[in-house]
Each structure stands twice: as structure tokens, then as C-alpha cells.
């Protein structure tokens, strides 16, 4: 089975190709099922790989499958191949599994859309690129996948490129923003790869990690890790490059679920886990990563608290949860970071798709101030959303509870201050999650007419969600405390854990996390359902900073002023001054010079014999002078 691992990539690629060239002949359901089928087939291949690896003894569970000689330029040799190990197989399972479910959902969600075929081609292309990213055995291969998912993201975010509204602006601009901001991060990655090659002579993962301890000084490793961190902040939406993700909600909801919750944004965390050897050589970079993760988590959670667009709440929640993951891998708890990645994929995709159901039922409305009492009109969606929210908030025994707690445990071992930031953020997470439950689904409808029209979604849009809901509930078993199945499974790829907490510490922090989650849910209940006085006073006390938070701390405005406007001015200068003036000018100058020279020289031919005689004489004198003096 291991030898057939390339099928993993071949299926989605085939799906994209078939739908591109023959899709116009198929009916919409056919297109959708072909696309979903190929991803499901990839999932089965991934399962096969899982079983194959389980069949091998622990230390041998790192297999390289070479595909072909990709680049050979003198000393620069990069073979194209796949790395099949626990980490890549885990990622592949998540991508293809959750991906297949979302594909099926999208058949229903996008059914009315006239560019249905194109959507599924793009989705398959995305899965293909993402699998390249996680399965590749070299930095360069990963970079190809990295860029590919960036492209897919751009295409899918700006899918409705002709639309424009007040929440998102021009939808096409959202795609552009995502691509450009990501580019900054990609630049960091490219530099990191170049430095790796010049210092170690290879870009293949296994060769690099082997040579790194001897070949890289701590300083150089730190530099490389910092550059990789830049790339991660771009792809995984951390400070300072997170600004594209909220805007990316302009894309269709399945896109938000697949790319901006479950898979693409997790690429940064995967990358850090994969390159952990380098981060261990440059601990200051890892520490910085942890702090960035923590602060991003906190900041995003505060913004989520005041958002009124349902998808934007989820978007900022994603940024915040990604912050947890980055914190996890930053402190060296790679397995827990991946664990949270997996559980987050389950419950966040669930939440996004359920939000998609809400949107579908309310004909595109997402402003929670206009909703209310939806649990009567959309009971299934309500239950699904609730399950997702419970997992997100970290309700005890849900999957999110275990993964979040695991990260916080390891963070505590690294820095108590960071732990408290993470804990406080967990409180906020619970509050905003349940704000998103209570405001739209409970209470009285705020817009009668909207409420009348509301309807539940068809089974094709609810059944895949039940699968995710079940996974969100039981997903915790992947890595229960003291059992730690996932951690041991991932050891061949990410190494042994360095932090071994005592029993008491572990139980204690587990309890604290449970209490915090329940407290947060209760706080939301008090404020938004019972509307208690003390909850309102608490909110009013925070009134002064509310405008700052509502404007997302003015970060977008800052970037616009400091970066976008100067760049636009520079571009304008180039387009209006430099290009027409200097470049066109120099070309025209050549023409002019020719004409002017010709104009002057033609006067030599004026038909007057004496002029010709003078010319002859000039020649003679020049010749004589040359012969005499030369």
C-alpha cells in the first residue's frame, strides 16, 4: 500500500481535470459527486497508509516514496517524493476526511450557483495542493503545496468576484488581500529554504534534520526558524499577518470551513511540527512563536466578542484557536498542537457549515442582531451548532476540552504568565462561543419577516455535519490524558515530549480548564439569555475600550496607512512617471535621435558641388593627418 501512496494525490488531481474538461456535460450532482468521490477515495488511501504504518514497528514508521528526479542543476538535486510518516498520514486523514464531508455539503450549498462546476474544480485543486504540502518529503515540495493552497484560497475567496457589500467590500479584494498578505509570509519561507540549502546543501526533510545539529549554528537556526515563523504567521493567520482571514469570509461557507478552519490555515502548524528539529536548535524563535500564538489568541478572542457577523465571529475564533496551536508547538508540545489541530478541524468545520445552514435558511443573512429564536425553525442546525460550540468552549469531556487543556498544560510548564493569558482566552472563548449560540438561536426573533422565511436545510447539508458532530464529541479519545495515544503515534515524526507533568499538576489544571469553560458559558447565559443586571454592568464597565475592539484595534487601518498607501503611491509613480517618462522616453529618444541625426546629415546632400568638394577635401586632410601623425 505504501507504494501506492501517490494515488492520494492522483485522485483529487484527476477529479479536477475531469470536471474541468468534461464537467459541462455532466449534471450538477454528477460533478459534485465526482469531486467528493475522488476526495473520499483519497481518504481510503490514507486509511490504507495508516494501516500500513501500523503494521511496521515504531522506529520504522518513516517511509520515503521517491517519485521522480525533479530538479538536477549541478550540485542542486531535489528529488520529488512523498514522506509517509505518522504526522503526514494524520494530516492527510484530516484533510481528506473532513474535506470529503465538506465536498458533499457543498453539493447542496452551491446548488443554485451558476459557476458550480468551477467551484468543484477549485475545491479538488485545493485538496490536491494541500496533500502535496503535507505529504512532500522536501522543503521545496512543501513550498509548491504552500503556494498552491495560497492560489486555491485566492480563487475560492474571490469566487463571487462580481459581488460587493458593506460587510466585506469588494469580494475580489478579499481574495487579493489574502494572496498578498500570504506572499509576505511565503517570502520568509523562500528565504529560509535558500539559507538551508546554502548551509546544509539539501532541502529534503530527512537530510536536513540529520545534518542540522552539526551544520547549523544556534544563531543561524534561529534565523531560519524566525523566517519560517513569518511564513507560519501568514498562512496560519497570526500576528502580524492575520488580517486576511476575517476578509476571507467573503468566500462561500464551504470554503471557509475547509480552507480557513480545518486545513489550509493549519499548514503553518504542520510546518512547525515537521521542522521541529530546527526550532529546537533555535529556542528563542520557538519562544517568540509561543508568545505570538498566545497574544494572537487573546486579541482575536476579544475581537470575536464584539462581532455581529456570524461568520466573522467564527473567523476570529479560528485565529484565536490557531494561536493556541502555535502556542502549543512553540513550547515544544508538537503532539498536542497537532491534537488541537485535529479536534479544531472537527468542531470548527462543523460550526462553519452549521453557520452555512443558517445563512442558507435566512437567504444570506448573517447579522446576529437580526436573528433570534432560530432553534424552533432550524432544530437540527441548532443542535449541530450547539455541539460545535460546546467543543470550542472546551466543555468537559468534549474533544476540544482535552486538546485545549493539553496545550495549556504544556504552556504552564514553559511560562506561567503565558498560561494565564491562555486561560483567560479560554474564558473569553467560552463566552463568545455561547454568545453565538444564544443570540441567534434562543430568545425572541428580532426580525419577524426574516424569521418567517427561515427554514431547515436539506439532508445533504445536515448529514455530513452529524459525522463531524460525532467526531467533535468523541475526538478526545485520540489523546486522553495519561493514555496519550496520539502523542506516542506521532513520536517517530516529532520526537519525544520534553515536558512530563506530575499527576497532581495535570489533574489540577484539567479541573481549572473545566471550571473556566463552565464559567464562561454561564457568563454568556447570564448576559444574553437572562440579561442579568450584573452581567450588563460588567459589560458597561468595559465600555470605554469597546470602540477600539470593535474597530479590531485599527490594525487594518494602520497597515493601510503604513504599507498599502505608500506602495500604491510607488506603483502610481512607476505607472505615471517612470514608465511613460523614462522607459518610453528612452525608446522614443532613440527614434528622435535617429531622426535628428538624419535631419542634420541630409544637409550634406544639398546638390551644391562646392559642398561635395569640401567633403572630399575634409577627407583628404584627415587622411593626410593620419598618415603624418598617426
Amino acid at each position: 500500500m505504501l507504494q501506492l501512496a501517490w494515488l492520494l494525490l492522483a485522485f483529487p488531481a484527476a477529479g479536477a481535470v475531469i470536471n474541468t474538461f468534461f464537467g459541462h456535460r455532466f449534471s450538477k450532482p454528477t460533478i459534485g459527486w465526482i469531486a467528493s468521490g475522488t476526495v473520499a477515495a483519497s481518504f481510503i488511501v490514507a486509511l490504507g497508509l495508516l494501516l500500513s504504518l501500523l503494521g511496521l514497528p515504531g522506529e520504522e514508521r518513516v517511509v520515503t516514496l521517491p517519485l521522480w528526479e525533479w530538479i538536477t542543476i549541478g550540485d542542486f538535486r531535489v528529488p520529488a517524493g512523498l514522506l509517509i510518516d505518522p504526522l503526514s498520514v494524520t494530516m492527510a486523514l484530516v484533510v481528506t476526511g473532513v474535506g470529503a464531508l465538506i465536498h458533499v455539503y457543498a453539493i447542496g450549498y452551491m446548488f443554485e450557483d451558476e459557476r458550480f462546476q468551477r467551484f468543484f474544480v477549485y475545491l479538488n485543486f485545493f485538496v490536491f495542493a494541500m496533500l502535496i504540502l503535507v505529504m512532500s518529503d522536501s522543503f521545496l515540495g512543501m513550498y509548491v503545496g504552500w503556494e498552491g493552497v495560497g492560489l486555491a484560497s485566492y480563487l475560492l475567496i474571490g469566487f463571487w468576484f462580481d459581488k460587493r457589500d458593506d460587510t466585506y467590500g469588494y469580494y475580489a479584494d478579499a481574495g487579493k488581500k489574502a494572496f498578498l498578505v500570504n506572499r509576505v509570509g511565503d517570502f520568509g519561507m523562500a528565504l529560509a529554504i535558500m539559507i538551508l540549502w546554502t548551509s546544509l546543501g539539501s532541502v529534503t526533510f530527512l537530510e536536513v534534520f540529520q545534518a542540522a545539529p552539526a551544520g547549523l549554528s544556534s544563531g543561524l537556526a534561529t534565523v531560519i526558524a524566525l523566517l519560517l515563523l513569518l511564513a507560519a504567521t501568514g498562512k496560519s493567520a497570526q500576528i502580524p499577518l492575520y488580517v486576511w482571514l476575517p476578509d476571507a469570509m467573503a468566500g462561500p461557507t464551504p470554503v471557509s470551513a475547509l480552507i480557513h478552519a480545518a486545513t489550509m490555515v493549519t499548514a503553518g502548524i504542520y510546518m512547525i511540527a515537521r521542522t521541529h528539529a530546527l526550532w529546537e536548535l533555535g529556542p528563542s524563535a520557538a519562544n517568540l512563536a509561543a508568545w505570538i500564538g498566545g497574544l494572537t489568541a487573546l486579541m482575536a478572542a476579544t475581537i470575536a466578542l464584539v462581532q455581529v457577523d456570524l461568520k466573522k465571529i467564527l473567523a476570529y475564533s479560528t485565529i484565536s484557536q490557531l494561536g493556541y496551536m502555535v502556542m502549543g508547538v512553540g513550547v515544544g508540545a508538537y503532539a498536542f498542537g497537532i491534537f488541537h489541530l485535529v479536534t479544531h478541524a472537527f468542531f470548527k468545520a462543523l460550526l462553519f457549515l452549521a453557520a452555512g445552514n443558517v445563512m442558507h435558511g435566512l437567504h444570506g443573512e448573517l447579522d446576529i442582531r437580526k436573528m433570534g429564536g432560530l432553534r424552533e425553525k432550524m432544530p437540527t442546525t441548532y443542535r449541530l451548532f450547539l455541539i460545535g460550540a460546546l467543543a470550542l468552549a472546551g466543555f468537559p469531556l468534549m474533544s476540544g476540552f482535552f486538546s485545549k487543556d493539553g496545550i495549556l498544560l504544556n504552556v504552564f510548564g514553559h511560562s506561567p504568565l503565558l498560561y494565564f493569558i491562555g486561560l483567560f482566552t479560554a474564558l473569553l472563548t467560552a463566552v463568545y462561543s455561547f454568545r453565538a449560540v444564544f443570540v441567534p438561536f434562543w430568545g425572541q426573533p428580532r426580525d419577524r419577516k426574516l424569521h418567517e422565511q427561515a427554514h431547515e436545510s436539506p439532508p445533504i447539508m445536515t448529514r455530513p455535519l452529524w459525522v463531524l458532530a460525532i467526531l467533535a464529541i468523541v475526538g478526545g479519545v485520540l489523546n486522553l490524558p495519561f493514555v496519550l495515544t496520539l502523542e506516542r503515534w506521532l513520536e517517530p515524526a516529532v520526537g519525544e515530549p520534553s515536558f512530563h507533568p506530575s499527576l497532581g499538576l495535570e489533574m489540577g489544571l484539567l479541573l481549572v480548564s473545566a471550571v473556566v469553560a463552565l464559567a464562561g458559558i454561564y457568563l454568556a447565559y447570564a448576559r444574553y439569555v437572562k440579561e442579568s443586571g450584573w452581567a450588563r454592568s460588567l459589560q458597561d464597565a468595559l465600555g470605554p475600550i469597546r470602540p477600539l475592539v470593535e474597530h479590531k484595534y485599527y490594525v487594518d487601518e494602520l497597515y493601510d496607512l503604513a504599507i498599502v498607501q505608500p506602495l500604491k503611491a510607488l506603483a502610481r509613480w512607476f505607472a505615471e512617471v517612470f514608465d511613460p517618462g523614462i522607459i518610453d522616453g528612452s525608446v522614443r529618444l532613440i527614434g528622435h535621435a535617429n531622426l535628428a541625426a538624419g535631419e542634420r546629415l541630409r544637409r550634406l546632400h544639398n546638390g551644391l558641388v562646392p559642398t561635395y568638394a569640401l567633403s572630399i577635401f575634409v577627407g583628404v586632410v584627415v587622411l593626410v593627418m593620419y598618415l603624418v601623425f598617426g
Binding site: G607, L614, F617
Partner: protein, 100 residues
């Protein structure tokens, strides 16, 4: 004995004067006269150099030049006269049918 170089320099001077005259004057006849002067200066050079090397080859050359000069003057003047049948003037600036 006067050194040969003196004769050569004299000849060069006459040649230069003649050349300037060809370029500057407008009257075709005067230009012809200047050309003759240039030919003569060359004659002087050749005869001086003939004496320098001590053989008569230079003088034979001069002989030939004289013959050619005579022929050329005759033909040139004939052309000039033929030209004035159509155009009263012998101002060479007005003989510009070569111009575009």
C-alpha cells in the same frame, strides 16, 4: 644649394592656397585656374624630388602631368561654354541639378 625641403614646403603652400581657392570661389573659371595651380605645385614637388634622388623619373612624370593638364583645361573650358548656352551664369552655386 637650396635644400629640397624648402621647395617641398613652397609647393605645399601653393597647393593649400589653390585648394582653398577651389572651395571658396564661385566663379567656375577661377576655380579652374586654382585647380591648375594645384597641379603645378605637384609638378614642383616632383621635380624637386627628382633632383633629390638624382634621376629623371620625376621629370618624366611632370611631362605627363603637363600633357594631362592641358587636355583637361581644354575639355573643361569646352564644358563650361556648353553649359553657358543654357544658363547665362557660370556661378557654380547655380549648377545644382544634382540636388533632390
Amino acid at each position: 644649394m637650396v635644400p629640397t625641403s624648402y621647395y617641398l614646403i613652397l609647393s605645399a603652400m601653393i597647393f593649400a592656397i589653390g585648394a582653398v581657392g577651389v572651395l571658396v570661389r564661385r566663379n567656375a573659371l577661377i576655380i579652374l585656374m586654382c585647380v591648375e595651380m594645384m597641379l603645378n605645385s605637384v609638378n614642383l614637388t616632383l621635380i624637386a624630388l627628382s633632383r633629390q634622388w638624382g634621376n629623371l623619373t620625376g621629370q618624366v612624370f611632370v611631362f605627363m602631368i603637363m600633357a594631362v593638364a592641358a587636355a583637361e583645361v581644354a575639355v573643361g573650358l569646352a564644358i563650361l561654354i556648353a553649359n553657358t548656352r543654357h544658363r547665362e551664369s557660370i556661378n557654380i552655386d547655380e549648377i545644382h541639378l544634382l540636388k533632390w
